[in-house]
């Protein structure tokens, strides 16, 4: 310990650098990352399940707030997780870069001299016969060179040294550098990426302007101006579900027929689950769908005051859906809490029992009063706050049914079933370089694992006999073939000389 304390700052820094770039440190950092990732999958995470996080904290506020403060609900961007992988990254670079130079020098220098003691090598073999070494060594060297070995002949010390498999370390280094490349691509790519979500009803067109998105996030290096200028019209959405006994109700087919408008050009395209649409550098993914029943509301004079399809958010796998219709009109505003059941079942609580509209029912609960839309407080369009409203009535409608509202408030007609789809619109420019580095990583990995790096020597001992020694620098078998090769070259050389 006293040595450490007497170090100068430079020596101390060098000491820590050496520690950081050692394999042992890298290993411990890797194991730490394993342990640190686990809470990221066990606990709900803010980026994937914000609702789950708030519920978790609600259920156990004390532990929840501590975990929240410590970043356990945002593990993969937390200080401790990022810190660990940044350290690992530095350790990796600090190890790989000097090794790259070292390996470059090794490929330019001669194979290392024969060790004094062959007994300690991976394999060794003796040849008893005595033969003149100059000719033998020349022939062996030529033979090895033909087989792409790098050869050094030392006639003074009476040995031939040969080395092969430099690519192994190249692959190894390429793999590690590629891993760094992947992490950098992802990290930098995030700055240039954006992602939004929009809901489009059948028969309607939506322009990709910020107000049309239900959510929209930008990396720090991009902005609204980078959004593609397109308008998307959903002509028709087709959904089919399993009707057989096995996995009944599971999704089978989703197809969105879309008309795309870029400036003045229009084009009909199809977007499917595994076939996103590429437009102006953005990708459009079909990520969800639901029902948007068409509803018409008339006032007491019989004038149409609302006629449109209404998006209802699915609440379960059979698309029991919920939403709201808000028709503000001062003190005389009308509001509806809506529930849509594509295949309604009333044996218990009203619920949908199949995702297709086999027995569609629209449940409406009507309310009257000041909806408060003018108050300036932003409201959720899918729910209605009824605390200040008067109840009008409740009803269930089938397509074509008309409900005459009590108190002569007008009428509501359920015209028919329509659908909406959810598109994710995303641009992630980091993906391409990350893909390139990933392919490099895999090639490097295979080369680094499977190319055999080995050295072999043949030397003449003072008593005139020969000895072959071979050293494997990988865990691949096949060194015996190399020894056999040198032996064969030796025998051939002995015959001809």
């Amino acid at each position: 310990m006293s040595d450490t304390f007497s170090l100068t700052p430079v020596e101390l820094a060098r000491f820590f650098w050496r520690q950081l770039t050692s394999m042992r440190t890298a290993l411990i950092l890797l194991l730490l990352l394993v342990i640190m990732s686990i809470p990221g999958s066990v606990l709900p995470q803010q980026n994937t399940d914000a609702f789950g996080v708030s519920q978790w904290i609600e259920n156990s506020p004390e532990l929840g707030s501590i975990l929240l403060a410590l970043g356990f609900f945002n593990v993969f961007s937390s200080l401790w997780f990022s810190g660990t992988y940044l350290l690992l990254l530095i350790s990796l670079v600090g190890c790989i870069v000097p090794r790259s130079f070292q390996h470059y020098r090794a490929t330019r220098s001669q194979p290392p001299a024969a060790p004094a003691n062959f007994e300690r090598l991976t394999m060794h073999d003796s040849i008893e016969s005595i033969a003149p070494y100059t000719e033998i060594f020349n022939d062996v060297a030529v033979g090895l060179k033909k087989k792409n070995w790098r050869v050094r002949t030392d006639l003074t010390n009476k040995y031939v040294a040969a080395e092969k498999g430099y690519l192994r370390e190249v692959g190894n280094l390429a793999f590690h550098l590629a891993v760094v490349g992947i992490i950098l691509s992802v990290g930098i790519g995030v700055l240039f990426s954006y992602r939004g979500q929009m809901l489009v009803r059948e028969g309607t067109a939506v322009a990709s302007t910020p107000t049309q998105f239900t959510s929209l996030t930008f990396g720090t290096a991009v902005s609204v101006a980078d959004l593609p200028a397109v308008t998307v019209k959903l002509n028709k959405f087709t959904a089919e579900f399993e009707r057989g006994e096995v996995q009944r109700g599971a999704a089978r087919v989703f197809i969105a027929d879309v008309t795309l408008q870029i400036l003045t050009e229009t084009k009909d395209v199809v977007i499917e689950v595994n076939k996103p649409l590429l437009v102006e550098g953005s990708k459009w993914f079909l990520v969800g769908h639901g029902y948007a029943p068409r509803v018409q509301v008339k006032n007491q004079l019989g004038e149409v005051i609302f006629s449109d399809s209404v998006i209802m958010l699915p609440r379960d796998g059979n698309f029991s859906s919920e939403g709201a219709i808000k028709l503000p009109n001062g003190e005389n505003g009308l509001g509806f809490i809506t529930a849509f059941l594509p295949t309604a079942d009333f044996t218990g609580q009203p619920i949908s029992i199949f995702p297709s509209p086999d027995n569609p029912v629209l449940l409406l609960s009507a309310w009257q009063g000041d909806l408060g839309l003018d108050s300036g407080v932003p409201q959720n369009v899918f729910s209605l706050d009824v605390s200040e409203l008067d109840r009008v009535g409740i009803v269930s409608l089938r397509p074509g049914d008309v409900w005459q509202l009590p108190k002569n408030l007008g009428s509501v007609e359920f015209i028919g079933v329509e659908r909406f789809v959810t598109f994710d619109v995303a641009s992630s420019p980091g993906a391409a370089p990350a893909l390139g580095f990933s392919i490099l990583a895999i090639i490097g990995l295979i080369v680094g694992l499977y190319v055999r790096s080995r050295r072999i020597w043949i030397k003449q001992l003072p008593d005139g006999s020969y000895q072959i020694g071979a050293l494997s620098r990988s865990d691949q078998p096949g060194l015996d073939n190399d020894v056999a090769l040198v032996k064969a070259l030796y025998s051939a050389a002995k015959e001809t000389n």
Partner: protein, 276 residues
């Protein structure tokens, strides 16, 4: 007889042969008479079991008219097939009969679980799974999993063989042989796993619009990847070689298993279509 029935009967027949093979390899391990004979019988029974299982997996694919790895049941039988196949290749080249029961017993357990707990009849897939990437991505996780499973069996054997005083250790292959085998199959598994994660990322970009999103399945795939990366480094780090490295390989395998069972059953993520 339809393909689905042929598949089910084949898987059942395969597990009967595998039970016999496991039993015989167990006798080979604990008995003292004629170890070579028992080894040969176990090997032959395993070959039959593997061939019949291959028929079962193929018939399942024919019955479903797609790659036969679309749910947990299919993954388990295809995964077991991968393990047995690689095991046979190694057993052909070198004598590993002493460790056979360490491989066959988990394989049998996997087939048993598949037919009881995980079984579901043939069905079509959800749209998200209908992609050429299903073949590539899932097949590569199955192959990698085969490597990891064998690596696990060899690593456990290695740890037992390292305790040279135990009677069992004498009957196992040498510790160094097991270590090398464990490394080879695990390293192979790691390379294929790397590819599987990449293929998964490309598919995720296509289907969900992002190549990485910390979905539980993705997170655990990364955990497995890091664990095996740690194992490969531990093997060449002074003070970690041997037992400690083997322990990391075992941990790596447990994370792989958890990704299959735990994540599919416990967590609600984008990958939850295991069919349970």
């Amino acid at each position: 007889m339809d393909a689905a029935l042929i598949s089910n009967l084949s898987v059942l027949t395969s597990s009967i042969f595998l039970t016999l093979a496991t039993y015989v390899s167990f006798i080979r391990l604990i008995g003292s008479k004629n170890p070579n004979r028992f080894a040969k019988i176990s090997y032959s029974l395993t070959i039959v079991s593997t061939i019949v299982l291959a028929i079962g997996v193929i018939a399942r694919g024919v019955a479903a008219d797609r790659a036969p790895w679309g749910n947990m049941y299919e993954y388990a039988i295809a995964g077991t097939l991968a393990v047995l196949f690689v095991y046979l290749i190694i057993a052909r080249r070198q004598d590993i009969s002493g460790i056979a029961v360490f491989v066959l017993m988990p394989a049998l357990l996997s087939l048993g679980l598949a037919q009881t707990v995980l079984y579901i009849p043939v069905a079509d897939l959800v749209p998200a799974l209908k992609s050429g990437w299903l073949v590539i991505h899932v097949a590569s996780t199955i192959i990698a999993g085969g490597g990891f499973s064998l690596g696990f069996a060899f690593a456990v054997g290695q740890l037992i063989a390292a305790k040279s005083k135990s009677k069992l250790a004498e009957k196992l292959p040498a510790e160094s042989q097991l270590e090398l085998l464990s490394y080879r199959v695990s390293a192979w598994g790691f390379a294929v796993w790397t590819f599987a994660v990449l293929a998964g990322a490309i598919w995720a970009e296509e289907a969900w619009g992002r190549f990485w999103g910390w979905d539980p399945k993705e997170t655990w795939a990364l955990i497995t990847w890091i664990a095996y990366a740690a194992y490969l480094h531990a093997r060449v780090t002074v003070g970690w070689r041997g037992g400690k490295a083997a322990a990391i390989a075992i941990v790596g395998y447990l994370t792989y298993l958890f990704n299959f069972f735990g994540v599919n059953i416990l967590f609600d993520g984008l990958h939850s279509y295991g069919g349970l």
